[in-house]
Amino acid sequence: MPLNERLLDVRGLDVSYGKLKVIFNVSLHIDNGEVVVLVGRNGAGKTTLFRSISGFLKVDEGSILYKKQKINSFKAFEVAQIGIRYIPQDKHVFSTLSLRENLELASYSIKNEEWEPVFEYFPMLRELLDRRAGNLSGGERQMLLIAMALLGKPDLILMDEPTEGLAPHVITDLTAAFKKIRQNTTLFIIEQNLPLTADIADRVYSMKEGKIVQETSDKDEIKKLMFEKYL
């Protein structure tokens, strides 16, 4: 797909939990090759938006278009299979399985056995293949989750607070990895870490009380953290 072509187009999205409406008329877009960051306070609706896009929550109104195809009614596994991978905030891996088995499962689901490109981003995973995933550190788990998401070269990865709770040196490693990953994959990230956001984001959406309240695409404004007021 050519760079800058529209990859994801969300239009007028409304999402509720039962009778409680949490997303109000949200519209946004992600172009191919971009790194877009979504910021906002806790409870702003960021994770709900990600879960809606990735097929875990039913949409009340509006449309989610991926490569011009409407995917509102797609189930989560179908969304993953068409090339959108979601890495949730909880950092849950298959803890009783080894790292190798985790990767094997992810490979099997998308029928892709090529692990080498993933090891280029995270070489340390190669050394940990036989370790039980439940015994990995937080940073290693996050790397494994990203590695699993990257198998099969997806077009878009949604990451929910990938650096939350990680040590500063791990965040530095992850930031470097994101810069490499972005050369092949579009990233849509929920992030509260402002320096990281300023470092990698091409555009920033700010969310408040279930609505998109600001879009920042000016590099200087991003560097100056103009969206900070929404955090």
């Binding site: 990735s54 875990f56 189930k75 989560a76 596994f77 993953a80 299979q81 991978r85 979601y86 890495i87 949730p88 849950h92 891996v93 298959f94 803890s95 009783t96 399985l97 088995e101 094997e104 499962l105 992810a106 099997y108 689901s109 998308i110 699993m148 998401a149």
Partner: protein, 320 residues
């Protein structure tokens, strides 16, 4: 390399253990025949509980269906025990495919209860609704209509033991293969984190359905073997009061493990056999043992053995 070789030989060791025990205790032929059959039954439940994470209080229903599939075929239709066993397995596959889509949508507790309800309905069907065919509590007898196999007359208990042990060996090999395959990994992952499995692109509904169908097929297969072993079937085979037996055996052996079902079956039936001669309510000892296992050895017999072997291996590594 040694580790792998030993690992590959475990199914053979276990099968040989049954044979050795049978010849060590020659008057316990029917007991060891039952151990082999009950192990297959526990393997089915282990897929549900140990791998997928679904508790079923209705497994005797599937056992009963397998038993009656064999009995009805041999009593009214044909004479070949092989075809009858095949029908026994087929009945489980059909049940799994038909009931699966509605049952596996339910949460774990509802799944347990709906299976219990099904079990109660099953007993009513076997005992009352189809009484003209099943002959109700009198049971359906068919041994005299059964032909012998070309190489083995399985109507004789000692030959049926050999037949069952051979079947047990191959089922164990297939079970081990399943455990090591991606399917086994998917089952375990389902119990571990179903949502995550969907994130990476798996249709977890289908994975559960396959697991449910496999479990049903193993249970009906065990029921079919029970039927041929007894030469008759009555509704008590499918009674829901016996639903806990298979769950307890799964727990004692080590849920979610390949060889746990065998150790669970051997221990459960062993306790039942020994204690029932001393006290009428043998369930008391099984109950106490289950509590001990749950509190002290939650990994069960095989799970604990694996754990101790792992610790021992680490210690040996440290010693150089």
């Amino acid at each position: 390399m040694w580790k792998k070789a030993i690992d590959n030989l475990i199914p053979l060791f276990i099968t040989l253990l049954i044979v050795i025990l049978r010849f060590t205790f020659p008057n316990k032929l029917s007991f060891f025949t039952e151990v082999a059959i009950f192990s297959i039954y526990v393997m089915g439940n282990n897929i549900l509980y140990g791998y997928i994470g679904l508790v079923s209080f209705g497994q005797p229903f599937y056992l009963g269906v397998g038993g009656y599939a064999v009995a009805i075929f041999l009593a009214y239709v044909g004479h070949s025990p092989i075809i009858a066993l095949f029908l026994g397995i087929l009945s489980g596959v059909v049940l799994g495919l038909v009931l699966g889509p509605s049952f596996i949508r339910l949460g774990s507790s509802y799944f347990a209860l709906i299976n219990a309800a099904l079990c109660a309905i099953g007993v009513f069907i076997f005992e009352r609704l189809l009484i003209d065919i099943t002959r109700g509590n009198d049971g359906l007898w068919f041994r005299s209509r059964m032909t012998k196999l070309p190489l083995l007359d399985i109507r004789l208990p000692q030959n049926f033991f050999i037949f069952v042990v051979i079947i047990f060996f191959f089922v164990l090999l297939l079970y081990r293969y399943m455990d090591r395959s991606t399917l086994g990994t998917m089952f375990r992952s389902l119990k571990n984190n179903e949502e995550k499995l969907r994130f990476i692109g798996f249709d977890t509904f289908k994975v559960k359905w396959v697991g449910f169908t496999l479990a049903s097929a193993l249970s009906t297969f065990a029921g079919a073997l029970y039927a041929i072993n007894f030469g008759f079937v009555n509704p008590s085979l499918g009674e829901n009061t016996r639903a806990v037996e298979v769950i307890v055996a799964t727990l004692i052996g080590g849920s979610g493990t390949v060889y746990g079902p065998f150790f669970g079956a051997l221990t459960f039936l062993g306790i039942k056999d020994i204690v029932s001669r001393l006290i009428t309510r043998w369930e008391l000892v099984v109950g106490i043992l289950t509590i001990i296992v749950l509190f002290r050895f939650s990994k069960g017999i095989w799970g604990s053995i694996q754990q101790y072997i792992g610790v021992l291996r680490e210690k040996l590594k440290l010693l150089g």
